[in-house]
């Protein structure tokens, strides 16, 4: 496919867009066109809604779509993690059945990995899948499932063999969420939002054809999903982008985004809102306080250095350089920045830090920072797990001696099943 040079490709896209893109059509109609053309996911294989292009060429295509002001393939939620996993490990039947509706936005997905009893230790999961009468019967519980309440499908990890070591008895399934054995309950956080769900399975059913990969071979597939998640391939990070076009496509897109992004609206507060610090320092008058100024400076130094470090990592990746330490540090850095920011916001708020809602500063935004930041050092892998990862993968330090990986999972001490 690299016979195309970039200019030719750009012209091809433009021609196609000129013929097909118009803002006044149903969003799904447009995205179906886009998916079938292969332009929406140019780096995907040509046989699966893509063009098989390199990352660079793919970026050129996406640039053209953006320049034309056209709407791209659906990105929100965890759909892209599902897509990436299916592209890599799914059967052709899986790809044929699921990929298009992921791109058009018709079907939403959720990730059914974490459990109450297995958080940091994901492979310690105890949700069970048992083959009965030719169908997989699922029993157990998942948690921290974003958007489970409006997902049609879930990527499910369940234990299918208890007599082998923990990583070797897990299978990866595609679960249809809309069935009697699946109950989704919102899980409220300390900041009052309920961005996550608990999902309970009581004899929920998965058809045998919806096993992904081999039976008991689910762990390495899960690692694919997780690797894409770490790379930020989920659409979560893009939630802040406003889509301001005119026409039916955009109206429907805004509706979709409002819906999908709802659970994430406190995420910027969780990150500490460094962007508000100087404004708040001026508004509070404490910008002249030398003690506060030191705190602000420390925060800005951390925040800017973290950004620059992330940009170093991205640049190295783009240049094809081997990843240096800077690549694995982002999450821990973000956690440190957020904690420091919450501290500075507290000092800047003074006694008003005790107020919330409409009595609180910035209509409660500041108090939302204070009660959201504690999540950032936990969600998506605790600081402690990040430090393990950094010390092992970046610094090459040895793992701790493990007592849980070399024996049948049945015999590994674990949390009681009930919560």
């Amino acid at each position: 496919m690299s016979e195309h040079n970039e200019q030719t490709v750009r012209e091809e896209v433009r021609t196609w867009l000129a013929a097909n893109w118009k803002p006044d059509q149903p969003l799904i109609t447009w995205r179906t066109l886009l998916a079938e053309s292969g332009w929406g996911m140019p780096t995907w294989p040509a046989q699966w809604y893509g063009k098989g292009y390199s990352m660079a060429l793919g970026n050129a295509v996406l640039e053209e779509i953006q320049t034309a002001g056209a709407v791209g393939a659906a990105q929100a939620g965890v759909r892209m993690l599902a897509a990436a996993t299916l592209l890599e490990h799914g059967s052709d039947a899986h790809k044929a059945k699921f990929l298009k509706s992921i791109l058009t936005g018709e079907h939403n997905w959720c990730q059914l990995f974490s459990e109450p009893g297995s958080g940091s230790d994901l492979a310690g999961l105890t949700t069970r899948a048992e083959l009965k009468d030719g169908k997989w019967v699922i029993n157990g519980q998942k948690v921290w499932t974003t958007s489970a309440h409006h997902a049609q499908y879930g990527m499910l990890l369940a234990r299918t063999d208890w007599d082998v070591p923990k990583h070797q008895g897990i299978s990866y399934f595609i679960l249809h969420m809309d069935q009697p054995g699946v109950e989704v309950r919102p899980l409220r956080q300390m900041n009052g939002h309920a961005s996550f769900n608990e999902v309970f399975f009581t004899d929920a059913i998965v058809l045998p054809e919806f096993l992904v990969g081999e039976r008991n071979g689910g762990w390495k597939i899960a690692l694919t999903t997780l690797a894409h998640e770490r790379r930020g391939a989920d659409g979560v990070r893009s939630f802040a982008r406003a889509e301001a076009g005119q026409g039916q496509v955009f109206d429907e897109l805004r509706e979709e985004l409002a819906h999908v992004n709802e659970p994430y609206k406190w995420y910027p507060q969780r990150a500490g809102r460094v962007d508000l610090i100087l404004e708040r320092a001026k508004a509070s008058g404490r910008i002249t306080d030398p003690v506060i100024r030191q705190e602000i400076a420390e925060l800005l130094i951390m925040a800017r250095s973290s950004e620059w470090t992330a940009r170093r990592a991205r640049k190295a990746q783009v240049m094809g350089r081997p990843q240096g330490p800077e690549g694995s540090l982002g999450k821990l850095a973000a956690s440190n920045v957020a904690k420091k920011a919450a501290h500075v916001h507290t000092l800047l708020a003074g006694a008003d830090a005790m107020l919330k809602g409409s009595d609180g500063l910035m209509n409660g935004l500041i108090s939302e920072i204070l009660i959201s930041v504690p999540a950032i050092s936990i969600a998506g892998g605790t600081d402690e797990i990040q430090r393990n990862i950094i010390s092992e993968r970046v610094l090459g330090m040895p793992k701790e001696p493990r007592t849980d990986v070399d024996r049948p999972f049945r015999d590994v001490p674990r949390n009681p099943g009930k919560r």
Binding site: S114, P116, G117, S118, G119, S120, D121, G124, V143, W144, L187, R188, Q189, M190, G192, V291, I292, K339, T346, L347, A349, G350, A351, D352, A353, M354, L355, K356, G357, S358, D359, G360, G364, S367, L370, I371, P374, A375, S377, I378, A379, T382, D383, E384, R387, E400, R402, T403, D404, V412, P413, R414, N415
Partner: protein, 373 residues
Amino acid sequence: MEFSFSDEQQVFRDMVRRFLEETSPTKEVRRLMDTEIGYDPAVWQRLSNELGLPGLHIPERFGGQGFGAVELGIVAEEMGRALLCAPFFSSAVLGTFAALNAASEAQREELLPDLAAGKKRITLAVAERSGSWQAADITTAARSAPSGSVLNGEKWFVIDGASADQLIVAAVDEHGIGLYLVDAAADGLNRIPLDTLDPTRKQARVVFSNVSAQRLGGASDATAALDRTVDQATIVLASEMVGGADHLVRSAVDYAQMRMQFGRVVGSFQAIKHKCADLVLEVELAKSAAYYAAEALAEDDPDVPALASLAKAAASAACLRAATDCIQIHGGIGFTWENDTHLYFKRAKASEMMLGDPVYHRERMLKNVGGLA
């Protein structure tokens, strides 16, 4: 300084703790924090009648028990541990100390017996929009009127301000600062509940428009009485915070002992063990500071202002850290509404700022450092 509680004090602590374990489990805290007044009058009555806690530190001649700051600190520590929802800090601490410090003998005779018996709840209103508890920042004004005085101004962050029976209000008058007793039902008084980060302790904004008030004490500046009241309350608040911190350490350790990951209890990982070790160190140091300050208050030590600030700064840091670490050690569950840690976290965050933040108190401590140097 004693550096130790007597056997009697230990027995007293156990009694208070048992009472609070019974009357203030977190289920009850959760129920009360959603009510308007934020406490259970029946529990308040029991706490007053059975244990006499509101009058613990009120002299016996005014119907109190005549104990001192050390016993009061014990009570506050246990209340912090239990996250008790009650008007104790507002009325038994702020209001009562203000009355003790500023009121005339006749006024004391009028006010203190009811305070000691928990029959009347009197809070203290000092801070205004700027959020300062320093006398120099007060702008609410009192002027003499034919019958008593008249107040105009606005107070913020008034603890239990919307539910108290009476308020003692710090205002500027011709003598400097005066402390004025105002009836909650007085004309021109408007009490607006504030939406607070900490749902377990209610606050109000109180607006005074020509409100009739009675000045406490003689015709002289009450700044010293106000400062002393704030110091006393600061020490009690520090005690409350170390009680909360101590609970949080225990909660974190208990969870870490129970929670399994990777085939081990997470409390066997050094990352968790060392975090707990650092935490218990900080909490024990803060306890020592709170105990020392309470003893100093009981002995009327001249270093009380410095020690109050020292204890508050130490307790704020320790309690907030304990809450943050407790959430972290709980992992995801620690961030849920269902888990109790966030209630302590929010109390810690609010207490950190109440009566002055740690930066303020560190500076104030150093200004008054005296014998601490």
